[in-house]
Amino acid sequence: MNNAISEQHNVPVKTALIIQEDIIMRRILERLVKASGFSVQICSSIDDLALHEQNTEYDLVISDILFDDGISSFDFAFRLGNEISSKLLFIVTKMGQEVIRQNFLNMERVDRFFGIPFDLDELERELIKLV
């Protein structure tokens, strides 16, 4: 419905990419972000994305911290920054320890950090602000 309204007013629909290894969290986030008016692309890792999808500039990327090929969490964040271009980057991860949270938020690239377990309403409020 939101998409339709946007099309009617010729406002381009905002795009979001969700990278989550856990399929349950991936699906929940997908529906939440869709319900907030985004056009959503989902995947379980960066490698799953086709080349044209990697070259797209997303309005928002919501990503887990993944350990692809045994790389560290920071290397993953750098890889994310290099390979996916987005206006905003939110992290949603089970690795929500305070030290990791601070380290990620200190990186210029990361805009919000949600450590699981968390209240999805907080994320929803952020999404509403964006739309």
Binding site: M1, D22, I23, I24, M25, R26, R27, I28, E30, R31, L32, K34, A35, K94, I116, P117, F118, D119, L120, D121
Partner: protein, 358 residues
Amino acid sequence: MQEKDFFIVIGCSFLVLVLLWILIASSIGYRKYREKKQAVIEETFADIVSRHLYGNASEQLSFIEIQRIFRKLGVFRKNPATVQYLINLMIRTQRSLLGRNYKKIGDLYKRIPPYRASFRKTQHRKWYVRAQGIREIYEMNQAGYTAYIAKFRDDPNVYIRREAQIALVVFLGWESLRFLPYLSREIELWQQIKIVEKLHDLYPEPQVQYIRKCYDVEHDFGKSLLMRIIRKFRLEEEVDFIIDMLSHESFEIRETAIYCLSSFQLSPSRLETVKSLFGELENLQQQRQVLALIERSSIIPDVEFYRDILLNNSSDFIKLKVSEVLWKSGYEELVVEYNRSLVELEEAFSLNQNFQEA
């Protein structure tokens, strides 16, 4: 003859080898089949949960439809491994969420299979299955079982009562503290921390009336738990209870009281109470900790209090600590004066001794 035996041995070995291959192949095949089935269950469950939380009206499924879907996937009583797999998925999801969705998902779990499987586990003859059943019930927020689980809160088996106590905290929140005076078995430190953390995660709004009702609790573990709750929730108005515990006969209780007090900035009147209790502490280490507490909460050092310790306390260790505090606060002359009187005293004492020897 020998050649025939040789062929029989070769034949048997080959047969064993073939049987082994069949066994390995069937095991790999079964594992792949099971993984595929589990992946389908996981995908279906993810879809149902996401629809329940954020789907629009047309995407919502009725509970009968959900039950039918799971039944088709083989989630029924006679298939305990599949049922357990679904329970694990449900618990994993519940653990990931807080706030409104935590409750919303609990409502979903009430009405879909395998809602009775965990309850049946609580009636199993093995204690670890019973404990697991209780854990599953509270992880899935099935508050309908509160009264039933309350029966296990003081169970002779430590693992069962631990899970039951956590379940009561999850279901009743602050109200669960009313069970505290009636517990007869020790709540270990780790369990106390777990209770406090669970309370903090699920019920962040403190309800002090339930704490106040427990102040007369007789057990030491109950007192420790209350102090930890006051500390975690930073209940300034309840700090007097912790201060009272400084004069408790148990070393561990005093230790917990000092640890919890260290998280608060004490008001002048409370500081006076702590100072009056200082002399009752027999342990040097605890005296040192309380001194640090007093120093941290004092804007201006209480010179009289420190002078009294210098003159009357029997421990050089404590006197040294007090001297350090005074020195750092700019009262060097007091320390020097005390030191001089000490030297004079020593000289008088040695003169007296020499005189007696002569």
